[in-house]
Symmetry: C2
């Protein structure tokens, strides 16, 4: 307690410093949603490849229709009928038109399209047009969507439906994306029982493994849930060693300085290069981070809320960096108005679980009524963490505060 | 063009009216992230099951320490050492203490915990305490997290990490969730080539199947991508019939009134109960919706942007209702300030692709520079659609507008 504790920012910088990108894999386009692309995508061809019609109508020479009007039909000879997907066999000459469907390539000789709505088919070979057109009207130009050489998607982008559509357009059936980091999840403690085991007095269900596994998946990683390790050096040592098959190890529990907190001594005995084991934050002060056999190791506190918050603050940004996401790797912080009073001891920066709602141009933060680090229900519906800085002991309803966004607000 | 077109809201109401909930399935807790729960979850036991220590320290009788102070150590006999997960064998009597770890059940006779930091182990059997404590101090009460009978998670909630942790706490290894709607995706058109085929003049890559499949997945459904159906009645009929193995059918292309638009006539010939086939919106006016053999059928327009927008406006809310999500099923609309000028013909409500940024308490909308319905790149990075109502032809930079949120903003 004597040495000054690291701030969250200092601790996060120490984490990120140690994170290097993991490898890539080729994934087919139907399975890349939400993945991080590892290559720049440029257009390798113009899309569309030819100028085409934006309307169902007639491909014409605009000059022919200069005098066309409601009371002055111009009669053109229809020389061909052109559906989308085909090229015209003929060239449009003066006095002629080609019937054209949306998306069909503009025939040679034509310089405009007249909408079917302002025409009348007079007999099988002729059409009457009742409106003039400008050169280029209703024509989509070659490359109007994508032009050869355009940088379409930057490496590090998360792929959504729009990016996937564009990747299809430039004919990429497979894409190079960051492989998902494999994250071993390890809960320790003699008090824990597995989800299907009876709970007796003094015992508690191992819920951390499930909430942390969900956070890993939501962050783009693959969770590997280890069996509970009991509070003895031997079991914790072998569990940690087994976890090293993963890319990251995240344990919860056993990182305090209590008599039965074996994680830190075991890490020391395994030769871990621990960068820190406490951070000035609440909940969640005891959190260990270091490298063990070259793998990032996060020793999170055992309380449900503390473990989730420290995951969001430290592990998630590390996973994002490991996948080579474009920065920022951290979650955004915005200004909010408090809907209720907030308090803290003021000895450390405090993160309070809150639900934000947006109304009349402002974000209002409603704090979960009970903020204990063991109150897992305080995370239900929480989409933000209101930040009370060190030294701040109280904020009142109506006050402004900073909030870290941890979930969808809209 | 004569009958008054339906508004987006009228059309959506007609869609939702036809949607009934699909079935449920039991999914294990490691695989329910993002799924919609179909049962209310109440706490079946108190969590924690017993009062326990919030700190590493000593379980004591507060009365014994009334006079404890920095300069007045009170000496207590340590009668037991209690790790988390076990119950004390002895009862704390006057003058006694039990060494207790965080999470361990409070022993009988004790009514407070004194932190280890304000104590000194004088010899193996005794501890000196330098601070008084209040009754209940550092004790987490039984049921402090969850109390038997509490409604924890409402049916219709999307499961995130917090919900999953709570489900573990109440020992639910399996959960009843909405099964994922299976959505057949069908692109039609002679101009289309598959993603791996050569593109020649007049042809265009079938990108819609991929962007729509991604939208289905992102909406919680399972996409089934059908091969391209060519522009003839027979092929479109058999493709649509094959698609009816799914829960929903979403086709793109062929719904205009052009000579080669076979989707509507085929639907009619198959006896579809079409509720509408045009909506007053831009892009995307031609959009068919109805029931075919009892299955919801969406005939989206063929343009990339139009198909994506009409999916977001009509199909996504329908999928949410089919999964029994809690309403609202539609995406939220917020006020934004335009970063650039916006224009429209004013004949129909227009949706302009935009990227929102939040700054100094305001959302600013930067419009994609090219807004053509064929410009798929206008969807890249778009997280909102700025709405220009029918009759509005221009808005200027700095004006307020409404925007529909379609993607993460933060």
């Amino acid at each position: 307690m004597t040495a000054k504790l690291l701030t969250v920012e200092e601790a996060l910088a120490k984490v990120l410093e140690q994170i290097t990108p993991l490898g890539s894999e080729r994934v087919d386009l139907l399975n890349v949603l939400g993945r991080i692309i590892r290559e720049d995508i440029t257009a390798t061809m113009d899309v569309p490849l030819t100028a085409n019609s934006a309307m169902d109508g007639y491909a014409v020479k605009a000059k022919d229709l200069e005098k066309a009007a409601t009371d002055n039909a111009v009669r053109l000879k229809v020389i061909e009928d052109l559906p989308a997907g085909y090229l015209a066999k003929s060239r449009v000459e003066t006095g002629q038109a080609i019937r054209i469907m949306t998306g069909a390539t503009i025939p040679e000789g034509a310089d405009a399209v007249v909408m079917v709505e302002v025409t009348k088919k007079s007999d099988s070979d002729f059409v009457e047009v009742f409106e003039s057109v400008k050169v280029g009207q209703h024509i989509r130009l070659r490359g109007e969507d994508l032009q050869t050489g355009d940088l379409l998607i930057k490496a590090g982008t998360k792929l959504g439906a729009a990016e996937i559509g564009v990747l299809a357009s430039v004919q990429r059936p497979f894409v190079k994306v960051a492989r998902r980091p494999i994250v071993a999840i390890l809960s320790t403690g003699d008090e824990l029982v597995e989800i299907e085991e009876p709970v007796s007095a003094g015992k508690v269900v191992n819920s951390n493994s499930y909430s942390l596994a969900a956070l890993v998946s939501a962050s783009g990683g693959v969770p590997i849930v280890q069996p509970i390790a009991r509070d003895n050096e031997e079991e914790i040592r072998s569990a940690i060693q087994a976890s090293l098959a993963a890319d990251f190890v995240v344990s919860s529990g056993g990182v305090s300085v209590g008599d039965y907190d074996y994680v830190k001594p075991v890490l020391d005995s395994l030769g871990a290069d621990l960068k820190f084991w406490r951070v000035s934050m609440k909940p969640g002060k005891p959190i260990a981070f270091g490298l063990l056999a070259g793998k990032p190791y996060f020793g999170l506190p055992g309380n449900t809320v503390s473990s989730m918050l420290s995951f969001l603050l430290f592990v998630k940004p590390a996973l994002r960096k490991a996948m080579s996401c474009l920065p920022p790797w951290t979650m955004p912080i915005i200004d909010v108005t408090l809907d209720s009073n907030a308090s803290s001891k003021g000895d450390r920066r405090t993160y309070l679980r809150a639900n934000l709602r947006y109304q009349d141009g402002r974000f209002y933060a409603r704090l979960a009524p009970r903020q204990g680090s063991g109150v897992s229900s305080s995370m239900l519906g929480a989409n933000a963490l209101v930040i009370l800085e060190e030294g701040v002991t109280a904020l009142k309803q109506g006050n402004q505060a900073k909030a870290l966004i941890i979930n969808d607000i809209f």
